[in-house]
């Protein structure tokens, strides 16, 4: 170990002399902080594109009848909104957080594979271009829903192939990112940073990375079989040749259910760090948090068919998947209780990161409860493929993943930019997001209970009022995120604002607060000596 470190020390001077500037700094980036920034900018761009698609959907659904798009384009919009948000916005954003924070939190100099890190980022650009560009291909973008169910995918035009190729590339990028994160966490922790002293964000990402490696190849397999069904006369899923369309759903959801935890576990990690910081009290039940996260990850592999209650599984199959799904609420509940116990008898302040974290717990728990209701097969028979499901997964993915990321942004951006964001603007962003989010998605529960199917371009008149309300909320939510970009992110990038102290939060602990703000280009080039709690550098 020491030989390697000595070598690193030598290299160090060269590094500083040859720090690339201009576009080379970004295109040839190997620095984890630069790549983290690239990931975050990329994912925010995709969030905006996906958001515009969402607003077009909501504009069409503002009132009954077809007004601005035809049903073909409508299906393209819902499909691409889903694909772009899942694969372009949420997943890369968390990889961006991981790139920036994991080396800083474990006292490592950089990610383990710096060039692969560069490759996994730049792979996403052609994939994203191909995905978004599919709108301009003959026949328009894929329109089979983000789940790409066969045999509808077999009817799609050439853009389906572009979409499949883009998914393959994004999957490869995710796998490389995950390998990098696992190797970094397992091999590059500073001496004294044992696994059970690691910050929760690193723990949740370590588990997430394993999930990614396990399931991304499964998705790749499913869409490759779709591709060969489309072009090479195989019949994996094509019933006309004896294929099994339900098999596609099993394979897709074997990927798809762990995928939803891939999108939420890192947010759990962020919240588990923000809550103790602003309660000025250590995280309650650290060990049980680690076990709960692992249990959720393991259980996520045996619940996939709860997305398929209406396919007509045998009753024993439905019972198994119902019980397994309900079981996930136990470790999830443990996490909420632990956050609550962390807040209990703390000394709390409510700066923007804490507001987002509390908002996350509040709204995510609602999504958790609707999930429990959906998990019950007899009720789900009523709710499957209705707007209730749309409401449920937006409560866990927007109010869950996205709110968690905003919490993380406000918590760590002083370290990234070197300046404090405006607290007032952070509060405006939080409160209007919270209000507009609920105005958008809460009425969808009622629509779903009343039986309005999802992915429809037009609906019976009785559904009109709640749809209009949801559309107004969506517009407000979208504009709020533009506000965040213009009045919070841009000033931060330009370095406008109060200079951030090294440790801007009184109760924040961890190695990322042991380096100056903004974090220098190179940090922890020699492994730091840590105190017993592995949260402070002592030499």
């Amino acid at each position: 170990m020491s030989a390697v470190l000595d070598h690193h020390d030598h290299a160090h001077d060269d590094h500083h002399d040859h720090a690339p500037t201009g576009w080379r700094r970004w295109v040839f980036a190997t620095n984890h902080k630069d790549i983290g920034t690239l990931y975050l900018l990329f994912s925010f761009t995709m969030l905006m594109i996906g958001g515009v698609l969402a607003l077009l959907i909501r504009a069409e659904l503002f009132e009954p009848g077809l007004q601005i798009v035809n049903p073909e384009l409508f299906n393209q919009l819902t499909t691409m909104h889903g694909l772009i948000m899942v694969f372009g916005a949420i997943m890369p954003a968390f990889v961006g957080f991981a790139n920036w924070m994991i080396p800083l939190q474990i006292g490592a100099a950089d990610m383990a594979f710096a060039r692969m890190n560069n490759f996994s980022f730049w792979l996403m650009i052609p994939a994203a271009l191909m995905l978004v560009g599919s709108f301009f291909m003959p026949g328009g973008a894929p329109a089979a829903g983000w789940t790409l169910y066969a045999p509808l995918t077999l009817q799609m035009g050439p853009s389906m192939d572009a979409g499949i190729f883009a998914m393959h590339i994004l999957g490869a990028s995710s796998i490389m990112g995950s390998i990098n994160i696992i190797v970094t966490i397992l091999n590059m922790r500073a001496p004294g940073m044992t696994l059970m002293k690691m910050p929760m964000f690193c723990w949740t990402w370590l588990i997430t990375a394993y999930l990614l490696i396990a399931v991304m190849p499964v998705l790749a397999g499913a869409i490759t079989m779709t591709l060969t069904d489309r072009h090479f006369h195989t019949s994996f899923f094509n019933p006309a040749g004896g294929g099994d369309p339900v098999m596609y759903q099993h394979v897709l959801w074997f990927f798809g259910h762990p995928e939803v935890y891939i999108m939420i576990l890192p947010a759990f990690g962020i919240v588990s760090q923000v809550v103790p910081a602003f309660a000025r009290k250590r995280l309650f039940g650290y060990t049980s948090m680690v076990y709960a996260t692992s249990s959720i990850a393991i259980l996520s592999f045996i619940v996939w068919a709860h997305h398929m209650y209406t396919t007509g599984m045998p009753v024993t199959g439905q019972l198994f998947f119902m019980y397994a799904t309900m079981l996930i609420s136990v470790p999830t509940g443990v996490k909420v209780f632990n956050w609550l116990a962390t807040m209990w008898r703390g000394s709390m302040t409510f700066e923007a990161p804490m507001l987002w974290a509390v908002g996350f717990i509040f709204v995510f728990t609602m999504g958790g409860f609707t999930g429990l209701i959906c998990s019950m097969a007899p009720i789900d028979i009523q709710l499957q493929d209705t707007y209730y499901v749309v409401a449920h997964f937006h409560y866990v993915l927007v109010a869950g993943s996205l709110f968690g990321m905003f919490s993380g942004y406000y918590y760590w951006s002083p370290k990234w930019t070197g300046v404090m964001y405006s607290e007032t603007r952070g509060k405006i962003h939080f409160w209007s997001s919270l209000v507009f989010f609920n105005v958008t998605f809460f009425p969808m529960h009622f629509l779903g209970l009343a039986g309005m199917p999802r992915r429809v371009a037009d609906y019976p008149m009785q559904f009109a009022d709640f749809n209009a309300l949801a559309s107004i909320g969506a517009l407000g939510f979208g504009l709020t995120q533009v506000f965040f970009l213009v009045f919070v992110v841009f000033p931060g990038m330009r370095g406008k604002g109060e200079p951030a102290p090294q440790r801007p939060w009184e109760g924040a602990e961890g190695l990322e607060w042991e380096v100056p703000s903004p974090a220098p280009w190179h940090t922890y080039e020699t492994p730091p000596k840590l105190d017993r709690s592995a949260t402070k550098v002592i030499g």
Binding site: G243, A279, G285, V315, D385
Partner: protein, 397 residues
Amino acid sequence: MKSISNKLASLLSNAGIWAGAWAGTTALSAAHAVNDLPGGPSVRQLNLAPAVTKIAEEQHWLHLFMMILCTVIFIAVFAVMFYSIWKHRKSVGHKAANFHESVTVEVIWTIVPFIIVIFMALPATKVLVASKDTTNADLTIKATGYQWKWGYDYIKGEGEGIGFISTLDVTHREMSNNGAKGDVPDDYLLKVDNPLVVPVNKKVRIITTANDVIHAFAVPAFGIKQDAIPGFVRDTWFKAEKVGDFYGQCQELCGKEHAYMPIHVKVVSGEDYAKWVDGERKKAAAKLDDPNKVWTLDDIMKRGEKVYASNCAACHQANGKGAGPIKPLDASPIVLDADHTKQIDTLLQGRNNGAMPSWKALSDTDIAAVISYTKNSWSNKTGQLVQPAEVKAERSK
């Protein structure tokens, strides 16, 4: 793209008006004067549809039970959290305590939710097992999903042998294209030409399958939803306890007209059902077309116009111009071709991997009629007449 931007501009101007109107909570419904649709959705409906089967009633009860349980837990947990937020703030001078671990507490809040979950699972299991028992049905009906209509075949029980196609009322589809303006009926997008008719208080087993892609047969008031999967046969059942009209929609994305394939089930008394079966039998006998009948152009055009409106117009448009990827029939070389087999074959086999579906479910007379219609409509003035016998010959190849 240009038309989209035009429409977007007009929508934005509308949006301002609507947003203002929303202040008066019922503005939208007042503008269209929408009423509840018995057996279908109600205006601003907040809960599941009123149940007309035992299973749906059980689902309601289960949902209510879950809602109460979840609400109580939610309020309890967040009451504690908001108490803590209120009392344990730095600004009120609260000093942080130093506890951060308790195995006892962790065990308690793992075990207690586990017990609650078991408590939830028990009634759910009971309802699920009951809802899956499709044995001993009085009447068995096969529901086949087509892009984008339902085919119903009475397989076993009273009415055996009856079969028909159920399609959204054409005027409703046009209303949708025109932005659902003006006087829109309460059963907008739910009205079909031929509803599924079933007797009250009889166990009806629905077998689902599909012809092209996955659809889902769902009637909320009955508490049923079953995917209709091509190449597979699945089943579900209901026993309606009330006479009346009940509505549902296809619930699985099945392509562009997914929003336009409603389900309308008419539940009638045993007597009325017997009468209906009798009527259907007579109608079928009268309508049975002789595939060897030789038609005149006028008669076959009239028949073809109807077939076109209910099967082809959704994609190819009433004016035959098609739209986007949908090919125009007006001036199409295949339609104009003197060799009739090309067009007959297109209809029987479908084209482009089912983007143009196969229409072999239609009768020889219907196919001949619609082909004759397209050959002599719009700018197509071929004067050609296709007789059912030609379709029959092509079909047997």
